[in-house]
């Protein structure tokens, strides 16, 4: 453990950002965690005051502060609604890195980030191995949702209804690609993200189908690393930079118009977090042009290819959940809805409280499953209330969380990615 004085010095570097919080408390109205717990330390204002207290040595319990800081979905809703323009996510990510530097990474996380996520080849092998044996410890519970639950007591899985690892990962199904621009005149780099690769390869396939349909050339190298957000949100900046570095190797020198992802979290990470959180100046310079070209798949379809809503479409009711990272960080809300309406065979219904977080928040759902569950149930209830026959969204992590909650509540509304809904309509 480093000495506390050093911790204080590092936290003091956040001071300029911390003082911008005027303690108005308006974030209480929008924070999904606070809504469940009613505790001030669970809302941005409280966390910022804890960090401020630690930085100014008014408070002397870094462990307590770290625990409170971890009780956050990093959904960014507070930031999007903060009257004072406080960069809450920036503060939280940096503070987590500082506190993790002070306490060191937990052995489990160290193993996962340092040994696994930073080494895509190994990660791929291991998950492919895992997918073959998961039947031993998981039994299917809901065929429509494709969820399973644990056969044995497993602390991390608890009573989750989780999707199985895909039998065959996306990178095994789809070849590495390096096509020239197609009839659209566009060539995109495709970053599926690890959830799509390992859990929802069908989403990756849908993306390829849609790109082919629109005559878009695809550049998709194998060996892509995770976007790095799991490591960064756990405070492991080193692993984060390694993963960004691996991706920079693959993408920084390639020639493409846009880099697209079907994962809201990846989009936000590549676009906003890579440029702000990478420390190494050389790496920063190399990834800047990549970050500048990031588009979510729906954004690309609508804003670049000009896909538009069709008039008078009718069919099964489809509703849409706004993933936090797409809405709060990238302000993309209209395009996914347009894509659903462009299918021509769906009748779009708005989801009550479409913009609230689904409660996943990456490792938050592992560490605070009870709260995550309650937040997810609110979302599942909205889906039920909407009367929709399909729930579409733009983030595989949200798909997983919402499937879990619907499945637990005994509902079988299929959960799909927007791009799957669109690809289906192409026949």
């Amino acid at each position: 453990m480093a000495d506390i004085q050093k911790l204080v010095t590092m936290l003091n570097e956040l001071d300029d950002q911390l003082v911008n919080c005027m303690r108005c408390g308006m974030c209480q109205a929008v924070c999904p965690v606070f809504t469940e717990t009613g505790r001030e330390a669970d809302v941005a204002r409280g966390k910022i005051s804890l960090l401020d207290g630690l930085a100014h040595e008014i408070l002397k319990d870094p462990k307590g502060v770290k625990d409170k800081l971890d009780r956050c979905l990093l959904c960014g809703t507070c930031q999007a609604n903060c009257p004072s323009g406080v960069h809450v996510l920036d503060i939280f990510l940096k503070a987590r890195a500082i506190l993790t530097g002070y306490f060191g990474l937990s052995p489990a996380k160290r193993a996962i980030f340092r040994q696994l996520l930073t080494r895509p080849e190994l990660f791929n092998k291991l998950t492919s191995f895992g997918s073959k044996f998961q039947g031993l410890f998981a039994k299917p519970v809901n065929d429509v949702l494709g969820t399973s639950c644990a056969r044995f007591q497993a602390p991390v899985i608890a009573d989750r209804h989780f999707p199985r690892l895909a039998d065959k990962a996306f990178h095994k199904i789809a070849p590495a690609m390096d096509q020239p621009a197609g009839s659209s005149g566009k060539r995109v780099a495709f970053f599926p993200g690890c959830m799509v690769d390992k859990v929802y390869p069908k989403v990756g396939q849908a993306v390829l189908k849609v790109l082919a349909h629109h005559g878009v050339g695809v550049f998709m190298p194998h060996g892509q690393a995770c976007c790095g957000i799991p490591a960064l949100s756990s405070g492991d900046r080193d692993s984060f930079e390694k993963m960004v570095g691996t991706n920079a190797e693959l993408f920084a020198n390639a020639d493409f118009d846009y880099i697209i992802t079907p994962c809201a979290t990846c989009s936000a990470t590549l676009k906003d977090i890579w440029p702000t959180m990478v420390d190494d100046e050389g790496l920063k310079a190399r990834i800047a042009p990549v970050s500048a070209k990031v588009l979510d798949i729906s954004e690309f379809l609508v804003d670049v290819l000009g896909v538009t809503a069709l008039e008078g479409a009718s069919g099964k009711k489809v509703t849409y959940h706004d993933p936090c990272h797409l809405r709060n960080s990238l302000h993309v809300t209209a395009q996914p809805r347009t894509v659903i309406k462009a299918t021509g065979n769906a009748s779009f219904v708005e989801l009550p409280n479409a913009a609230t977080c689904c409660g996943c928040g990456g490792s938050f759902s592992l560490q605070h499953y009870d709260i995550s569950k309650k937040i997810g149930d609110l979302k599942a209830k909205s889906v039920e209330d909407s009367g929709a026959e399909t729930l579409a969204t733009s983030c595989p992590a949200c798909m997983m969380q919402i499937s879990d909650r619907l499945s637990q509540r005994g509902h079988s509304v299929p959960v799909k990615h927007v791009v799957e809904v669109y690809a289906d309509s192409l026949g």
Partner: protein, 463 residues
């Protein structure tokens, strides 16, 4: 850290989950929205039933522990900054609307109900609860009563005190005191709802509130009048009232605020204007049409460069968005933003604007002013950085000067934000020595050990 035996006593009442004493919890209850130094309590207790509120109060009194009730902690006067070693009691879990009576037009609520949520529940029943502080998305009704909160509609519809029909509260011994009624008229005994209003947690702990509801206005018309001269805008306010028109809202923004807001949202506001008045009249459609026309005429006659009348709901929302953006936009400029609420008689608004201009020059400070011109309640907002010591000293002097001016004009220290710790020192200046002593004697007999939110409004008890 509080001693273990004491924690056990609290836990016996509310359960271990609802008693927090770790530093990383208590520190999160050491502040509110006022720009004041924080003080962490020893224990934070979160009752889930109102009976527990009374039991906790009695426990604190038994042990002589200072008790500060906290709603959302959004007050701007330090009313929820606890005493060192004291207890903070949270009302957030006491958030039930117990009765919403559409025949007799009242509602009975627990103190932790969030204002905006309550207003929405009421609206869903076709009725109207007008008090709408800017913090309504999070503020609690208990906090609103304890601060006598007002809002944009204060001019025509009044403030929280005009809607509090009855109250039940716990005295320091945890006994339940009830006063007021569900009837519109009630003169039974002392007016304790009146006494509890603006008491800032110093006289009793609210258990239930009976609030008046009214039918909503059928129609409304909003407009934005643009002025090239602050004095002309200020005089227009008096002229509208003098013409016996009572707008639902009559808000003011100075040039600095206009420019800041426009920069914030690129809303296309007239950034060269010296001042804006945002006006809304509401009521019966025929009356609205007539009054809107009259207001428009008065504005033009008093030198408005233009009057933009809202065409539709979208346009109306745009007008009010500009006003809602005032505080956030200003807050974005500098790290510290001191929002004052010195209030003057309406006819003195022109003079107050001149005084503020002089004060900002004298103390070399940036002050943006907006606020509820219709009721004389201005919000001069000082933009600063508390870490800059020299500037902060000037800020404190400027605040003194603002209150001196307001009081000299027959105004008041606070139109809506309360006295708390922030303005306790000015109390005697507005009232009198006798007033303070009367208040202290009253407090002393109701709260002999001085446990209820000590240090607020009347400072320490005289011994």
């Amino acid at each position: 850290m509080a001693d273990q035996a004491l924690l056990k006593e609290f836990e016996a009442v509310v359960g271990a989950d609802n008693v927090m004493s770790a530093e990383s919890d208590t520190h999160a209850y050491s502040y509110d929205a006022a720009v004041l130094d924080s003080v962490a309590p020893a224990v934070v207790v979160r009752p889930t039933e109102t009976e527990q509120l009374g039991q906790i109060t009695a426990l604190c009194n038994k042990h002589g522990l200072p008790l500060t009730v906290r709603g959302a902690g959004t007050n701007l006067s330090g009313g929820t900054i606890p005493s060192k070693g004291g207890v903070v009691v949270l009302t957030g879990a006491l958030n039930k609307v117990i009765e919403l009576n559409t025949d007799d037009l009242y509602a009975i609520v627990q103190p932790g109900v969030v204002t905006a949520k309550f207003a929405a529940d009421v609206a869903a029943k076709g009725l109207f609860y007008p008090p709408d502080p800017g913090s309504q998305a999070v503020s609690t009704l208990g906090g609103n009563v304890a601060e006598n909160a007002g809002g944009l509609r204060g001019l025509k519809y009044g403030v929280t005190k005009d809607y509090l029909m009855g109250i039940s509260f716990f005295d320091v011994d945890g006994n339940l005191v009830k006063s007021g009624s569900r009837t519109v008229k009630c003169v039974t005994g002392y007016n304790l709802p009146g006494l509890m209003t603006a008491s800032e947690g110093t006289l009793g702990v609210f258990n239930e509130l009976t609030l008046k509801l009214i039918p909503p206005p059928q129609a409304a018309q909003s407009m934005m009048a643009v002025f090239d001269d602050v004095q002309a805008a200020s005089k227009t306010v008096s002229a509208i009232i003098a013409a016996k028109i009572l707008p639902a809202t009559l808000e003011f923004m100075d040039n600095f605020t206009i420019r800041t807001v426009d920069n914030f949202r690129k809303a296309g506001l007239p950034t060269d204007a010296a001042a804006l008045l945002l006006i809304e009249v509401d009521g019966h459609p025929a009356q609205v049409a007539e009054e809107a026309e009259k207001v428009e005429k008065i504005c033009s006659e008093h030198g408005a460069r233009s009057v933009d009348v809202a065409r539709d709901a979208d346009h109306r929302a745009k007008v009010w968005q500009a006003r809602r953006d005032a505080l956030p936009a200003l807050a974005n400029l500098k790290p510290t933003c001191v929002l004052e609420d010195a209030t003057v008689p309406r006819s003195k608004i022109p003079a107050m604007m001149q005084a503020l201009d002089r004060i900002s020059k004298e103390f070399k400070l940036t002050i943006g002013t907006f606020g509820h011109a219709g009721d004389g309640n201005l919000h001069p907002t000082i933009l600063t950085d508390k870490r800059n010591h020299d500037e902060w000293v000037r800020v404190e002097k400027a605040i003194d000067a603002i209150f001196d001016e307001a009081l000299a004009m027959g105004g008041t220290l606070s139109g809506e934000h309360g006295i708390g710790m922030a303005k306790a020192k000015y109390m005697e200046q507005e009232t009198s020595r006798a007033t303070i002593e009367f208040s202290r004697r009253m407090k002393k007999s109701l709260d002999p050990k001085g446990i209820l939110n000590p240090g607020k409004i009347i400072s320490a008890l005289l011994d």
